[in-house]
Symmetry: C2
Subunit: 320 residues, 2 copies
């Protein structure tokens, strides 16, 4: 299964065909006041309106559907503190599969509740990668569950690429496209889809300065692990994997890093000017435009708003 090569545009098109009846076709929003403020011509693909509240549902749906096409599966499992957990739980529920999620005990309440609401079983672990992985191994041994990795999985990457596919179908005149980068699943799928459809488009990853391992990896041409990342963008703490590193170095043009203040400002602007709730990780691409105006000046710039799952307390905290 996992020995396949980097997904192609036709893999992403097939993924879209496979999942389109399960996913939300999210709208693309524009805002004259944001254009005025940035000097760019901005288009926002609202994956914060996606089912489960984040783009992660695209990849989870595609991976589960592909898994079921190839073998008999009754249980899927993953480890995640974030949006992949909720997305996999919902996708499994729709396919009437059992789902087990290993979650660090310090995961946010809103995300724990979402996973429970979608009917998955939660096993809590210590908040370390080692504890997550060993707990997941135990689950796999005991239950025979199929592990669906949050991003180091080509079916997940192909699913994430469907957001850019829809985006370019709706706005084929885009000059550049920006996606946030954590583990790299979204940026991989985005870059493959966009550059394959339209080679002249520029694809950027956007990452917090406080978790700039993807930027370092891209510059050094080797995977530099994320060490003690510190950022409000809780979805972007993870390191690239071999599969996402391969896709990003082959297809993306550059990675831009942003300040914490830029992320908070972007989140405020999205709420106050555009009336939408975007979680901090999803605000990083807009922060990249705000902090690099000359790059995007007068260009048609597509931004993927990756998710909207934010604790209400954090959402209110940004205004104080």
């Amino acid at each position: 299964m996992q020995e396949k090569k980097i997904p192609s545009l036709s893999d992403i098109r097939e993924a879209h065909h496979r999942i389109e009846n399960m996913i939300h076709r999210t709208p693309v929003l524009t805002s004259r006041s944001m254009n005025k403020l940035t000097g760019s011509d901005l288009y926002f693909k609202c994956e914060n309106f996606q089912r489960s509240g984040a783009f992660k549902f695209l990849g989870a749906c595609n991976a589960i559907t592909q898994l079921l096409a190839n073998k008999q599966v009754k249980i899927v499992a993953t480890h995640s503190s974030g949006n992949h957990a909720g997305a996999l739980a919902l996708a499994a529920n729709l396919h009437k599969l059992q789902c087990i999620v290993v979650m660090p005990s310090n995961s946010s309440k809103i995300k724990i509740n979402a996973v429970r609401e979608y009917g998955a079983k939660i096993i809590f672990c210590l908040p370390t990668l080692q504890s997550r992985e060993s707990e997941l191994e135990r689950v796999q041994e005991q239950t025979g569950a199929s592990f669906i990795h949050p991003y180091n999985n080509f079916d997940v990457i192909a699913g994430q690429g469907t957001a850019a596919l829809e985006f370019i179908r709706d706005c084929n005149e885009l000059d550049c496209l920006i996606a946030p980068v954590g583990g790299g699943g979204l940026l991989s799928g985005t870059a493959i889809a966009a550059k394959s459809i339209k080679p002249e488009i520029t694809v950027f990853g956007a990452e917090p300065k406080g978790a700039d391992d993807a930027w370092r990896s891209f510059k050094e041409k080797r995977i530099v692990p994320s060490v003690n990342p510190k950022t409000i963008a809780d979805g972007l703490l993870t390191s690239l994997s071999d599969r996402t590193f391969a896709a990003i170095t082959a297809f993306a043009d550059d990675i831009l890093t942003v300040s914490e203040e830029g992320i908070v400002l972007a989140m405020q602007l999205l709420q106050e000017r555009m009336k939408i709730v975007v979680e901090p990780s999803g605000c990083v691409p807009l922060a990249a435009v705000l902090e690099n105006k000359p790059i995007f000046n007068n260009r048609k710039t597509g931004i993927i708003l990756s998710g909207g799952n934010i604790d209400p307390e954090i959402a209110s905290g940004i205004h104080t």
Copy 2:
């Protein structure tokens, strides 16, 4: 000008044709989790994404365009503490007209800033209707400005009706439609458009119990003024006028009243489940569904989310 009769569907269609290059074509969103929660099949027309942050821009745009078609105008004026002020300021700005807004001194900062940002001149008055009206009269005498009333104006009403026109074009299978009612401009336009296109549709107004003058007026078949209204829905404090009363009694089916708790719950759900920011007045129709589930059970229910202009402090306060 103001002696015309209640707008017809063709007036609303003409209004749409007239303004469509100036307005945002707002999306219609759906949410399976909201359907599950209410037992209804809900469609949300997002006028919170409209320019100036509220549906008021539709009416202001149409009224100004009509005014200019009929006479030489250099200055428009209004009194408003809320969304009509910002909408008129923006519409005037686009037409390169001067705009003067009489605003009560206790208007919210965010709304004062919006009016200023759109280039209008603000004259502050005492927070009473008498002070607003006498100050406006003085402005008209001194400047010759044309007064554009927030809702007692058939061109404004026709403009507000364009939201329902678009809504039914996008979702022609709607069984019922709900709009909030304050002064009644939106409900008037909505009811005229919807019942004229599709006579079998049911059109509801939704109003806070703490400001239930439209409900009383509808039941008593005479205009009952709003006296000391008390509600978080600051856009719904005003009384019906002769023109909106006439349209609403002729075209709307019923008015539902909702509790303050219902409004706050609706606002939380829209933020947490649908990732959108809706001001309290715009949450009243969803509150009406939540508090009257049997009426809407299994029906395709259209909700007009009328605006998104909320002070960040209020937005955060709802979660505590």
